[in-house]
């Protein structure tokens, strides 16, 4: 009798082991490593892209450097072109290129500023964030160029951008790959769909020539100083 129990017990343990065994084999293969592998592949691609960009920078700077060594006139000319290039990146120059135009307005028939589903600063911030994630190179909201320190913030009943008041309808311009920018916003269950579900009027159109104005504020740094190394 007790022998039977023993066998029963052993069989039970065996069954458990078998089950465990089965689960391990099932788990290992598809899920975990696949995600990691694709994550790493994406990282690899991005790093390579960065290196290509930096390589171009090196070439450009080497050319500039050898010319700047020639004399005062050349040095001045090169410095001017460096300033021009940095100005484009810093946002103090108007830029143009292909991109998208996003218009967003409060739900129809809701002229008043209040309402749960009127367009809020965070809706605009999320749109900007999405565009940035998809590689937008320059952006503006209602004519205000977005630079690294631009806030989009509800102050009273208006939204401020670069400390300037903006009013609906809002128009966001972004330069970048138009198809990618558009689909990142209009993807199913994406941001635009959510905003539309809330009753807001949103249109996204791409254009092969978007012009984005320069930053109009001053770029004075009172606290930040260039560090020696970093």
């Amino acid at each position: 009798m007790s022998k039977r129990y023993t066998i029963g017990l052993v069989a039970l343990v065996l069954g458990l082991l078998l089950a465990l065994q089965f689960r391990t084999t099932q788990n290992i293969e598809p899920t975990v490593p696949y995600d990691r592998a694709s994550e790493l592949t994406a990282e690899l691609r991005a790093l390579e892209k960065e290196t290509t960009g930096l390589e171009a920078d090196v070439g450009d700077l080497e050319r500039k450097l050898s010319r700047a060594r020639m004399g005062y006139t050349q040095a001045e000319e090169i410095l001017r072109s460096e300033v021009k290039d940095a100005a484009v990146i810093a946002g103090v120059t108007a830029v143009e290129g292909p991109g998208v135009r996003v218009r967003i307005n409060n739900p129809a028939g809701q002229g008043a500023q209040s309402g749960i589903f009127t367009v809020r600063d965070e809706d605009l911030l999320k749109l900007l964030n999405e565009l940035r994630a998809t590689g937008a190179e320059a952006m503006s909201i209602n004519g205000q160029r977005i630079i690294s320190t631009s806030e989009v913030r509800l102050a009273g009943s208006f939204i401020n951008v670069n400390t300037q008041k903006i009013t609906p309808p809002y128009e966001i311009l972004a330069i970048g790959g138009p198809a990618a920018l558009r689909s990142s916003l209009e993807i199913r269950n994406g941001l635009v769909e959510t905003l539309r579900d809330w009753g807001m009027e949103v249109t996204v159109e791409d254009d092969d020539r978007i012009v984005i104005p320069a930053y109009r504020g001053s770029l004075k740094f009172e606290y930040a100083q260039q560090a020696r190394e970093g």
Binding site: L125, I147, S150, Q226
Partner: protein
């Protein structure tokens, strides 16, 4: 009985071998191979990055003539905004961590972890309070920097993955930034009291923020009205 024990032993052995074999399966090898590639790609990138910094410094040293001073001052300003150079100055350090609230059964745990929009809101508040230059976990924030939640980490500048706790450093007037964050009903209040997110704000006499690691050359945008 003996037979059963034997069988059991066999199973255990198989189990043991299986876990050892895991290391040798193709997916794992793939990950190892890719990790090695990523590592060498990163070294390559860093090498070019250093070369760029070197060349910029050299360009600075060959353009020291007195007449070029106004141009150089302009360039220095634009470079800071463009994220091309590291900066230092007084400011604040804000660290954010997931909620320590004990969840009640049925509550959605997702509501109590830090989301990208929380980080966005803190950054936005700092900008409104006059932050001049910012970074998150040492990653320089540019006009084009997104903040995106991917699992337990956030992605910044397309490929930089940073993990909690998230530490935001900002150069600017410390007291203005601190009072903007800590305003009653403000960002810190909402995050802390409503969602239980752990937020600490520290005033710093000096913070140093690195330059952006990567190229900032545009591929789509060009100067308006300039040549094609």
């Amino acid at each position: 009985m003996l037979l059963v024990a034997l069988f059991l032993g066999l199973m255990m052995a198989v189990q043991y071998r299986l876990s050892r074999d895991v290391e040798r399966t193709v997916p794992i090898q793939r990950v190892q191979r890719l990790s090695a590639q990523v590592e060498s790609a990163r070294m390559e990138r860093d090498r070019f990055q250093m070369r760029v910094t070197e060349l910029r410094n050299e360009l600075d040293t060959v353009t020291t003539q007195a007449g070029l001073k106004p141009l150089k001052e302009k360039l220095a300003q634009y470079r800071i905004e463009a994220g091309l150079v590291p900066v230092t100055g007084p400011g604040v350090e804000v660290s954010l961590n997931d909620s320590n609230t004990a969840l009640q059964p049925g509550q959605n745990p997702n509501l109590y972890v830090l989301h990208d929009e929380d980080v966005l809101r803190v950054l936005n508040e700092l900008r409104a309070a006059g932050a001049e230059v910012m970074a998150i976990n040492g990653e320089r924030l540019l006009s084009t920097s997104e903040v995106r939640c991917i699992g337990p980490t956030i992605l910044v500048n397309k490929i930089r993955r940073v993990a909690a706790p998230f530490v935001i450093t900002a150069v600017g007037e410390p007291d203005t930034m601190i009072s903007a964050l800590k305003m009653r009903g403000g960002v810190v209040d909402t995050l802390q009291q409503f969602w239980g997110i752990q937020v600490t704000v520290r005033k710093m006499n000096q913070v140093t923020i690195p330059a952006y690691r990567g190229s900032r050359m545009f591929t789509h945008a060009r100067e308006a009205g300039g040549e094609r």
